[in-house]
């Protein structure tokens, strides 16, 4: 059953349509990604879902509640992590969590939450003295302190070092495993690919594709490429006779075979039958990056 339903959402700033008819549904327990370049309308979309911004058209339901009409009720069950939102420099980690816990009718055990987010030794540390990664984790903790059923996380790992990013990803998977539905706004392909069950690719205020990560890449191309260095000479026809193979190219000592499904298996077995060893064997697949460029005509990074 859908826990979030967005239909024909429209938001206009002046003459600019930041969100131009976006519709999607998110199932309970899903990690749903909203992926797109800067200025695509991702943040505006989730702000309308959160009730932080009023929409100009369409309908939004989160757990059956309208974020604009039932905002107070919804915020009891919605956890929101905003991009670029700080706390006063002198507030301590423990104080911030206790304060935010007092805002909810039911809240999480703050001690356990602090431990879970790896801030155990930092209870008394002021916000201003935390590293960027620690501030980010506290921010996630504040979004989770009200025991939300739905969490919206916007640009979760921007500005984090690679280790902190991987730790944050692990954390998000734990949160989902505890039954929380998650909307993840990101412009990082690897993040979306690693975490999301489904991804809406947004560009210029519209959803240009909505699918699983694998589905998105498959949609762009069914093609696979196998690249290897053969141990002995052979004629191209050996491979071209296979139904799976479309093209054979030679790059110096390397052979690049292009084709459809089960390409690798077909190529390797025919080589084996002819006592040819395929050294440096590599399968090159279309990446989500390639898919994104194909779908939007833009690159994500910049």
């Amino acid at each position: 059953m859908a826990i979030i339903e967005v239909r024909d959402l429209v938001k206009t700033y002046g003459t600019h349509r930041a969100v131009d008819g976006i519709s999607f549904e998110v199932g309970e327990g899903e990690i749903f990604g909203i992926l797109g370049p800067n200025g695509a309308g991702k943040t505006t979309t989730v702000e309308c879902v959160e009730g932080l911004r009023s929409r100009d058209g369409g309908s939004v339901k989160v757990m059956g509640l309208d974020p604009e009409k039932d905002g107070a009720e919804l915020k009891q069950v919605l956890g929101i992590q905003l991009q670029e939102s700080r706390l006063p420099d002198r507030i301590r980690v423990g104080e911030a969590l206790d304060l935010y816990a007092s805002f909810y009718k039911e809240h999480a055990d703050t001690d356990r939450l602090i431990e879970k987010l790896g801030l155990g030794g930092k209870r008394k540390t002021p916000f201003g003295k935390l590293s960027g990664g620690q501030q980010q984790r506290l921010s996630i903790a504040l979004a989770l302190v009200g025991n939300p059923r739905v969490a919206v996380l916007d640009e979760l790992t921007t500005g984090l070092d690679p280790q902190a990013r991987r730790d944050t990803w692990d954390l998000i998977e734990q949160v989902r495993n505890s039954g929380v539905t998650i909307i993840l706004v990101t412009h990082f392909m690897d993040e979306a690919e690693r975490l999301c069950d489904r991804i809406a690719v947004v560009d210029s205020g519209k959803i240009v594709a909505l699918d699983t990560p694998a589905g998105l890449t498959a949609r762009v191309s069914e093609e696979q490429r196998v690249r290897f260095r053969p141990s002995a000479e052979f004629a191209d026809a050996l491979l071209l006779d296979l139904p799976e193979v479309a093209r054979v190219e030679r790059h110096g000592a390397h052979v690049v075979v292009t084709g459809g499904e089960n390409l690798l298996q077909a190529v390797v077995s025919v080589l084996a039958r002819n006592q040819i060893v395929a050294a440096d064997l590599r399968v090159e697949q279309v990446s989500l990056d390639d898919a994104f460029v194909a779908l939007t005509g833009k690159s994500l990074e910049n």
Binding site: L52, L78, S85, L87, P88, R90, S102, Y104, K105
Partner: protein
């Protein structure tokens, strides 16, 4: 504890933790009064001040300073920073409206001004025998209306200023004006008469405080001006205040 109670508790801690607000806001006015009183000449009755000692005459101006430092500089600075850093925005994501954070800030800063003024009165009385305000009711009314007008202006600065920097610039100008007309920079008997009279109407209204202190009921018109300033500035601030 309720969310508001918790907010007040935390904001009070943050106030005390910041050495600038704690020392300048809470202690400086008392230190200034004690410092001036250490000069023997300022403890002699003088004709210029209607036979009062300078230290008695100047005490209301020190109260102006206590209220001004907190209401016109600290309050808008903190609120503008909270807006700029997204503290108010983050609160909008919770079931508790950021209005409660504003209320907590007002409570803490009002409490601090009250404490600072009480310190001035008590220290002046204990150390130099500055009499306690004689017209107690008049003093209470003049103080409450004066502080409300100053805080409403502080809220107006917080509402108008798009950034923390702009808030600090704007509030510095207002603070210096309030201090000048309040006789903090130059004792008021040294100011041209027209300026001193205009000062009666500049929040927090130093003449009303002085009158009540020496035992006269404060004049109605300056008190009405304080009330009007508080209502007008407060209403505009409430209308235009932006959470982000």
């Amino acid at each position: 504890m309720s969310a508001l109670g918790k907010l007040i508790q935390i904001e009070a801690r943050l106030f005390v933790r910041d050495p600038m607000t704690f020392v300048v806001g809470l202690l400086l006015p008392t230190v200034v009064l004690l410092g001036l009183g250490a000069v023997p000449m300022l403890r002699e009755p003088a004709e210029d001040m209607g036979g009062q000692r300078f230290i008695d005459y100047f005490a209301p101006s020190v109260i102006v300073m206590a209220v001004g430092v907190i209401g016109l500089t600290n309050l808008p600075a903190v609120l503008a920073a909270y807006r700029e850093q997204g503290v108010l925005r983050r609160m909008r994501t919770t079931p508790v409206h950021p209005m409660k954070l504003l209320v907590a800030q007002l409570v803490v800063n009002l409490g601090a001004s009250l404490l600072s003024a009480a310190l001035v009165v008590a220290a002046g009385n204990l150390v130099y025998g500055v009499p306690l305000p004689k017209h107690a009711w008049g003093f209470a009314i003049a103080f409450v209306l004066g502080i409300t007008a100053v805080f409403a202006l502080g809220m107006l600065v917080a509402a108008l200023a798009p950034t923390a920097r702009a808030a600090s610039g704007l509030s510095t100008v207002l603070f210096m004006l309030a201090m000048f007309f309040g006789g903090v920079y130059l004792p008021r008997f040294m100011l041209p008469d027209a300026i001193a009279r205009a000062g009666d109407f500049v929040p927090p209204g130093v003449q009303s405080l002085l009158d009540a202190w020496t035992g006269t009921a404060p004049a109605v018109v300056p008190l009405a001006v304080m009330a009007a300033t508080a209502v007008a500035a407060g209403a505009v601030a409430a209308r235009i205040f932006k959470w982000e």
